[in-house]
Structure formats: C-alpha cells, structure tokens
C-alpha cells in the first residue's frame, strides 16, 4: 500500500537558516513518482518538483534542493538561507500507476525574521 510520512509536524527557524523537510514513503511499485507541493496561507497548493523512481539524481533549483534516496525510501527537501516568504505548509506526495496521488500530512514551516 502507498504511504507517505512527514514526521515533522512543525518546524520553526530564523531567517537565513537552512532547513530540511523529511519525507519517507512506502510503495510496492517499481515505477512511481514523488512530488513536493507548497501551500502558503492563501491555500493554493503550488507544485515544486516531480521526481520519477528511476532518477535518483539530486536536484537544485535556486535555494531549493531535493535529495532522493531509494535505499532509504526518502525524498527530503532542503531550503537554503530560508526567508520569511518560505513560511508555508509543505506536502510530500507519492503517485503510482493510476490516478490517485497520496499526500503526506504536511510540515508547517515558520520562518521568523
């Protein structure tokens, strides 16, 4: 069965600190996709990244980076030099064959000035 675990319910950091959001997933499929979404206070989920199960290459996009490790079934997200505008709820999600995407419970990030 699919499962996504985001063990960190809330994280609070001071601006300019680096922060890593953890995501651990469970799946029996060999082909699957992992996503990160950001949900700011306005409510809209914003797509950040998609990664397929065959591509373990880490990715960097500006201050964001993602570390995908199949050996530990983890897809962690790091924000470097955090800013107040990064404050949001971040969801990790898993999608297998078929339509359904399973979301983790989310991690609420507070970045204080």
């Amino acid at each position: 069965a699919q499962k996504v675990t985001q063990a960190q319910t809330e994280i609070s950091v001071v601006e300019k600190e680096d922060v890593t959001l953890d995501c651990v997933y469970e799946t029996r499929d060999t082909t699957y996709y992992l996503f990160w979404y950001k949900q700011p206070p306005s409510g809209e989920l914003v797509f950040l990244i998609r990664r397929n199960s065959f591509d373990e290459q880490n990715e960097i996009s500006g201050r964001y980076s993602w570390n995908f490790q199949k050996s530990t079934s983890s897809f962690n997200f790091t924000i470097t030099a955090s800013q107040v505008v990064d404050s949001a709820v971040y969801f990790c999600a898993l999608s297998e064959a078929g339509f359904k995407t399973i979301f983790g419970a989310g991690t609420r990030l507070f970045v204080k000035a």
Partner: protein, 115 residues
C-alpha cells in the same frame, strides 16, 4: 494567465442545505480533481474526471457528487452537508491521461463552513 479558478473562495451553508462549489480552468487539461482538506490534514481525493469519465474514490461518501458539463468546468455538489463536511475543497487539473506522471495544478480552494 492560464489558471484554475474556484468560486466562491468562502462558502457558508446550513446543516442539510445543498451547496455547489465551482471550478473552472483555462489550461485545457483533460483531468480535473476534487480534494477535501480538513484543518491541518493532507488533501484527500474525492473523485476525478478524465475528460467525461467519472472516477469516484471508494471511500467518498454518497453525499458528494460531481458534474463536468464541459472541459473547462467542474462542480462539486454536497447534497446534505453535515458539520463534518466543513473543510477546504481544492480543485486541481492535469494534462495527459491523469497517470502518475501528471503534475497537478491546484486552484486556491473554497473554504466551506457548515452552520
């Protein structure tokens, strides 16, 4: 800008009074989804349309129905809202066939309050 639009952003209804939430998209995507997100919880898929084909999740209550009259619009009907249906309702779209590769684009949500 192409986008997913949800109206209204806030909806208040009375216990048992039918309510309809609206979603429209200018992305021309084949697939449209409805999610329910309760406070501090993950979004939960209720159902989706691939074109005109309706796909209901097994655990979606019968109280929830959906209509998609054309590519651009999709409606969520709650026939008899209960207090437990108070939540944020998120509409999303994706292109392609809605498989696992699809990236979903979300609207801003409609926050439903049931009195």
């Amino acid at each position: 800008d192409a986008m997913v639009i949800q109206n209204p952003r806030y909806q208040v209804t009375q216990f048992g009074k039918p309510v309809t939430l609206s979603c429209s998209q200018t992305l021309n995507h084949n697939v449209m989804y409805w999610y329910q997100q309760k406070s501090s919880q993950a979004p939960k898929l209720l159902f989706h349309y691939y074109d005109k084909d309706f796909n209901n999740e097994a655990d979606t209550p019968d109280n929830f129905q959906s209509r998609r009259p054309n590519t651009s619009f999709c409606f969520l009907d709650i026939r008899s809202p209960g207090l437990g249906d108070a939540a944020m309702y998120l509409c999303a779209t994706s292109e392609g066939q809605g498989g696992p590769t699809d990236t979903q684009y979300f609207g801003p949500g409609t926050r439903l309050t049931v009195l």
